[in-house]
Amino acid sequence: MESERLTIPAQLSKRPALIAHIARACGRVGPARPASAESLELNDPFDAEYVSAFSEIFNNIVLHGYAGGSEEHIEIDIRVDDDELITRITEHGVPFDPGELSAPDLSQLPEGGMGIYIVEAFVDKFDYEPGPPNTWTIKKRYRGQDQRP
């Protein structure tokens, strides 16, 4: 098992480096991926889905929890355990009530309310506990090219 902790300001400007970091963490589960220093290579379904889920959570924290951004720091714990990648985010933004969320009506081509839907669809397990501090945990096991449980 290996783990690391990142501490970064809750700002969208930190998003590109953070997403690249999470993409590299994805590469530590399952078979080796071809590394690219110049672009995100998310051709493996595991990587595409995990990065998608994480990025929606980060957006939610910055845009909603911190009303667009803050100098306040959030903590991101990343753990690789066999073929499972676990990320836990701890933050002190405004919490939300998961019970108020409903699945988007995709037939209506929604322009919002898709973030948590993407998270829940793309990871094996998603937990949110309102705080303070609020904690978000996602887990996903590598299953090869077919990522459906």
Binding site: L12, S13, R15, P16, I19, S39, L40, E41, L42, N43, P45, D47, A48, E49, V51, S52, S55, E56, N59, V62, L63, L106, S107, L109, P110, E111, G112, M114, G115, I118, A121, F122
Partner: protein
């Protein structure tokens, strides 16, 4: 993120390169608004060079689609692959756009 708008008669191609997400969407929103204001009727959004999209990026494309359609025009999305394809499939946008 970079984008290029190319007009040819009634058709417009909007090529987007890089990441279309909550951070970069504000950069392209004015271009989308201008396409609608210019009454462009035949729009192709080329995502073949987009490597990452999030729900914010999806929203700006859906917004363009709805507004152009409301004016009687059409929006086609091409070149969707990799992570964007996973998002489009999940949100059933692959059925809406000829990706």
């Amino acid at each position: 993120m970079k984008y290029t708008r190319t007009d040819s008669d009634d058709a417009t191609t909007l090529e987007i390169i890089g990441t279309l997400d909550a951070l970069t969407v504000p950069e392209i929103r004015s271009c989308v608004d201008t396409l609608v204001d210019d009454d462009r009727q035949d729009i192709v959004v080329d995502l073949s060079s987009v490597e990452l999209i999030d729900s914010s990026g999806v929203a700006v494309i859906v917004s363009l689609y709805k507004r152009v359609r409301a004016k009687g025009g059409s929006v086609e999305v091409t070149g969707v692959q990799g992570q964007p394809a996973a998002i489009f499939k999940l949100l059933r946008l692959d059925r809406v756009f000829a990706t």
